[in-house]
Each structure stands twice: as structure tokens, then as C-alpha cells.
Amino acid sequence: MNANLSGATAIAGVGYRQYKRGTAPLPERGVLVRAIVDACEDAGFDPADVDGFVSYGDDHNEPVRLMPDLGTKELTWSGMVWGGGGGGIAGAFGLAAAAILTGQATAVVIFRALVEGNSGRLSAAVMAHHLNDHMVGAGMVAPAQVCAMRAERLFDYHGVPRSVCEELVRASYHHAARNPDAVAHGKELDVNDFRTARWIAEPFRLFDCSRENDGAGALLMVSTERARDLKKPPVKLLGVAQGTEKGWGDLLENDDADLYATAGFRPIARRLWEQTGLTPADIDVVQLYENFSAQGVASLIDHGFCTYDNVAEVVKFDNLIAPTGKRPLNTSGGNFAHGFVHGIGLAVEAVRCLRGESANPVPGARTCLLAGGPGAPTVSSAVFGRD
């Protein structure tokens, strides 16, 4: 139990701007500044008083360059979680909380921005982080292929039914269809389209893969005490864990045999539940980073929501949708169907959902798990909660 972390910091404001890939109205930093000011206005907080910035996934926007637009008086903290993928997203909240709880900063913005014209395709950037001659020589040049091999093992060796991926993807599209901000707004997923879409890398077809969008997301974190004086009800950070266990990581596909088909979260989940005193049964809603369908399923298994044996009983469409499902998931439509700015939209949705602002409300939700990018060498997750 980490009493210093549990609930002592909170998200006070969120901002999110998303555009079709290649159509952002401003260059990347301009979109990011807009999202940060949105987050501050959401909280009723002067952007000039933000003194810390945190990101992940090799974001290109050095905080010091944001200062002129924001009017930043003094920058006292900047940091980034290592790793090229989305594995570090939840860990970024841990960095921000560490700064606030140790007095090194007082108001920290967690952000991620991605505009193709500035940073290129995300998939290419993530892979560039990991590319080496071993993988390139085997034709492995995209995250989809690496995740596909692991998915094949998850299905064929560990016996996870392939049908659970369809349940997960359908739930995301169901929520997106009801979210005016989603790329897939107004469009239910046609199951036949899902089953017959073109192959990307077997076992993944097109709709098993996340999208890419231009945009930026920003979340303002302050102490919970300070958040209580701001406009919106605080959404507290109850716990966060990041890292990697021995036998998992950037190992040329030589991860331990029993870890290979996981999403890498076993040690993260263990520490997260120890730290918060919560269990999977205490989680009301999940914002699940799904780069690919099978990795989303593997993440749910790693976090303890189900096992290889009972996954098909748990990961069912009816269980996953708001407001009636047992544990709704990806209430905005998630990376598949809301849109994908390296997952930061999921963190924003975690806050909106707990405030009751989601397009797909989960009545009475008090706790939300943010599960970070699965399958990455460094992964992370966080739990947020309401009073």
C-alpha cells in the first residue's frame, strides 16, 4: 500500500483535439497548445501556472518550447516515460504525481501530440524505435506483425478463442457509434465486414488494428486538495505502476515462453492491486489500450479480469457495453473506433467517464482502470477514482 500516492493527486482538467489523419488545422505544437489550454479552461486554471510537463512514446514536443504560447512563468519539471510505443502512457501519470508529491512541481500537464505532417506515421515511428537487422531481415517492419505472431500463439497454443477479439472490437464500435466525437460515429460495425476485411498480418484483419489520427490530448494534474477548489470534481489517481519483469522486454522475441503471448502486464497488475488494495472486481469501467485486438484481450487477462480458460465468458459484447454491461470498456470507442492519438484519448475518456461526461455514461462508476499500450517492452497501468 502506498498511502502517499493513493488519491493524493488528481486530474482537474482535460483537453482533446482529434482530426482525420493528415488534416490537422495547425502543425503539431499548435494543436498541442490548443489541447493544453482546453484542459486548463476545463479546470478553470491559468495555463501560465502549469510548471511541469510529462509525456511518453517519444513525443517530439519539448516542454520548454511550449512556454511562450502558454505564458509559463517557470518550468520546474519535465520528463518522459521511455519506450516508442504506448506502453508508457499510464506511467506518465506516475511521473507527474511523483513531481507533485515531492514538491518538485505543483501543476503538471500529461500530454501526447501527433500530427502526421510533423511526426510522420505513428506505426513507422514506433517501429523505427525498435527496428534492427534481425527483424528487418525477417520482413518484420511494423508493430502489427510482431503483435500478430504473439496473437497466433495466444490463440493456437494457449487456446484463447479467436472469437473474443470480435466481441472486443464490436463493443468499441458500439460505443463509437454513439459518440459524436468518434471517427466511427453513427456507424455500427458490420460483423461480416469484420470477418471478411482484408488481411493485414494473420491473424489480424483490418478491423483488428487501431487507427491513426492527428491530434493532441492533455490532462492537468494537481494535488487533490488544490483540485477541490477548481471547476470540475477531481478524478483522483489511486495507483499507477510501470515497468518490465525479467523475461519480458526488447529481447528479439526471446521473451520467456509463458510470457510471450501475454501483453506484459503481469508485474504491473500485481503492483497496481497491491498498491491500491483493489482487485479487478472493484473496477467499474476499463479504458483499455488496444493497438490490436488480441493484445487488448491479453491485457485483460494479464490484469486478472479473466484467464485463458474463461476469457470467452468474460470478454462478451453484452458485458462490455455501457450502461448495462457488467464492466463496460472503451466507452468512447477506444483506439479502434473513437480515434488514435497514441492512446491519450483513453486517458481523457477515463476522466470524463468518472465525471459522468462520457457519451456512453456508466451510471455510478467510481473506479476506472487505464491499461496502457499492451505488448510494449515497458508497460504501465493506472487506476483513477471518484470521491
Partner: protein, 141 residues
């Protein structure tokens, strides 16, 4: 220490595995085993994280093993132009070392499944103007 390494990588930094590339260029597979504790390390390391030894002996290994995982790539990803789509990539557990190596399958792959026996040979994969030494696997008959 062995002879001065020839290896240069095309993508990413060269780690401790220079000898691996040199051996592939010369037409065979060599992999590193810790002189201190006998553990095989892949990716190659400079220091054995288990026993602390700094010396590794590079031993010839056979290009034979069984399929641990696989995928068939259909999408024309940038960087894989040198391979005709679709192509199958396998991750192979070697028969004579507890190490997995990755490579493209050549020949018939219809019967490919986890656990299938495969044998390998050394070829090159075109990547831009470079030709990266690479293993080609085929189903053992």
C-alpha cells in the same frame, strides 16, 4: 577476444552480436554462451546478467528447430519491399540451444503450425540499397 569484427548493421545500433553477423556472412550460425555459467544469451550481451562474467564463447549451432510462432504478412508495409507479399515469418526455437531466431519461410507453408520442424539456410533480405544477412526457413520433410 575473437578477431576484429566486420559487422555493420543497416538499421538500429549494433549491440554485442557482431560475431553473429560475421558468422552469417561466412555462411554459418554462431551463438554466444557464457563462459562463467554456461547460459546461452540472446540477444547477445557483453556481461552475463546472471553470473557477472564478461566472456562469452561463440559456438556453431545448427539451423534447425521448431516453429514457436508465425504470421503471414499481406499488407505492403514500408520496409518490406524486398519480400513478395504475402510472405510468412516464423519464430523458431533452435534444436540445440534455448534460443529463438526469426526468419522468412521459403517454399510450401500450408502445413505450417506451431511445433512444426524447420530447417534453415542463410540468404539476404533486400532493404533499400542494403542486403541484410538473414535466415530462410523451410518445413522439414
Amino acid at each position: 577476444m575473437g578477431p576484429r569484427l566486420m559487422a555493420q548493421t543497416v538499421t538500429g545500433p549494433l549491440g554485442a552480436e557482431g560475431r553473429y553477423w560475421d558468422a552469417l556472412v561466412l555462411g554459418h550460425l554462431e551463438l554466444p554462451r557464457c563462459v562463467g555459467c554456461g547460459r546461452w544469451h540472446w540477444p547477445a550481451v557483453w556481461r552475463c546478467g546472471d553470473c557477472g562474467a564478461w566472456e562469452h564463447e561463440w559456438q556453431p549451432r545448427r539451423l534447425a528447430g521448431e516453429v514457436f510462432a508465425w504470421t503471414r504478412t499481406w499488407h505492403p508495409f514500408a520496409g518490406a519491399e524486398g519480400l513478395e507479399k504475402p510472405f510468412v515469418t516464423v519464430l523458431v526455437t533452435l534444436s540445440d540451444a534455448p534460443i529463438r531466431l526469426i526468419g522468412v519461410v521459403e517454399g510450401e507453408a500450408v502445413d505450417l503450425r506451431i511445433g512444426a520442424g524447420v530447417i534453415g539456410r542463410i540468404d539476404r533480405t533486400r532493404f533499400g540499397d542494403a542486403a541484410i544477412p538473414a535466415i530462410r526457413w523451410s518445413l522439414a520433410s
